[in-house]
Amino acid sequence: MTYRGPQRVRIEDKPMPEIQHPQDAIVRVTRACICGSDLHLYNGNVPDTRVGETFGHEFIGVVEDLGSEVTNLKVGDQVIVPFNIACGKCTFCKQELYGNCHESNPQATAVGGIFGYSHIAGGYNGGQAEYVRVPYANVGPVVIPDWMHPDDAVMLTDVVPTGYQAAEMGGIQKGDTVAIFGAGPIGIMAAKCAWLFGAGRVIVFDQEDYRLEFAQRYAQCETYNFRSLKDPVLFMKKTTDSLGADVCIDAVGAEAAGDVLQTITGRKTLMQAGSATALQWAINSAKKGGIVSVVGVYGPTGNLVPIGNAVNKGLTIRGNQASVKRLLPRLIEHVKNGVIDPKAMITHRIPLEEVADAYRIFSDKLDGCIKTVLIPPSAKV
């Protein structure tokens, strides 16, 4: 697929990717998801998104070619490709901050390289394609275990690790009340994982009833449509003896609805780096001394958030892109033991050739869509 401008994507023939660095691999894509954060690109909200780029940072595939320095993989391996591009050598990678690699993104220092995520994240083509160049192939890709279904594997490239890390960064202690804003795939997975850390109560907010119903079923959490609550923060206070949640998770990011001022300034006029409604609610709903975990994606400029309340309440705010490689061993174990069932979140499997319709279905939440997987014609599994 290629991006042509806001809300315009299409299929195009592009040259086959080539080895450009001794640690590169060329991977034939067998599954690629559309992520909620792809919608920020799709809507033209991320600066330096260039016409002709290929999106897609959630993909798996088969190794077709390897650079001279790649020793961990062989041609024919089926691999999970983490969405972070990480060198494994810089000071940040050594701390397992694989989302913050300092040797993969020349255009911005805040974030490391990400496949198919504009030139703000390194200018790499993504995996919503038949073939893709995978840099630092010794570091990122993990061979898919024989027993694992490809649909589970593709969900381990981003959705599961990001949801898990959202809960992890919340520092959840046994019995904690966890409020999650957003019932997209990440929010639902964060709800599921909050239990693994011993949460006592998990509450999810969204405006889409079908997603809330799914979240309730999949993650066994309480769900509320914020449209029917008028003020979700007030509701959170009332339902926690007026104290607030121990942990609040922003699982929405820049596309959040629910606040007119945020929507106009953040989504319609781009005066801020996306609508920060979910983050605003998270800060205001947290208990004094509580923790706010942010995995929702925002642009690089600024946002209207109640930082004064965060200071006055003594909140700890943690955020980062998921460090996929770090989390994969534990998460593969969880999938094997049936603790997490990632593929159950996939509602739509669409041929890559119909990518424009796939984006529209996911973006406009049509046909009960939770998660869309694109299947390229070159996929043979």
Binding site: R4, Q23, Q173
Partner: protein, 162 residues
């Protein structure tokens, strides 16, 4: 709000990753003193620059690897080069990049037409799916757009007559 008496046996895996020592948790957890030694790690082999790569002024060099999806070109490329003179904390960096993106979209259409390809905007926007799954919404949008356009045209014509 700990509730030790509550039964979570219906939730598979409840508490299996609970760790009272999970504080400070990620991303601070693995922080060590070796991160005080500056930018002097053993860098990976440098990828050859076969295209123009703009890099942040907040770093001294181009990273060891980089993407080559779309080098800057045309008017949008000129605007991007201008934007990259400024630091990442500056609006003078990001706002020109957004302008460049919009110019790039127009350049893309011009390029299509020059190569004899007429872009099918309706297909690119996925309106087929919208029509299939949200027909009422599409009809409503078209009706509202038509009504607004008609009102604007009528108002303009009335103004011209006056």
């Amino acid at each position: 709000m700990e509730n030790k008496d509550k039964d979570y046996s219906h939730i598979k895996g409840w508490g299996i990753d609970a760790d009272p020592k999970n504080d400070p948790t990620y991303p601070m957890r693995k922080r060590g003193n070796d991160d005080h030694t500056g930018y002097n790690w053993d860098r990976p082999t440098q990828q050859t620059e076969t295209i123009e790569v703009l890099h942040s002024v907040e770093r001294p060099n181009v990273t060891a690897v980089f993407g080559t999806s779309k080098p800057p070109k045309g008017l949008s490329g000129m605007i991007r080069r201008y934007a990259f003179q400024f630091g990442e904390g500056q609006f003078s960096h990001w706002l020109p990049l957004i302008v460049a993106d919009r110019v790039d979209a127009i350049e893309g259409i011009v390029e299509d037409l020059k190569s004899g390809h007429i872009p099918n905007i309706f297909a690119e926007k996925g309106y087929k799916a919208q029509w299939k799954y949200n027909r009422t919404g599409v009809i409503t949008k078209v009706a509202v757009a038509t009504a607004v356009t008609t009102a604007v045209v009528l108002a303009f014509r009335r103004k011209c007559k006056d």
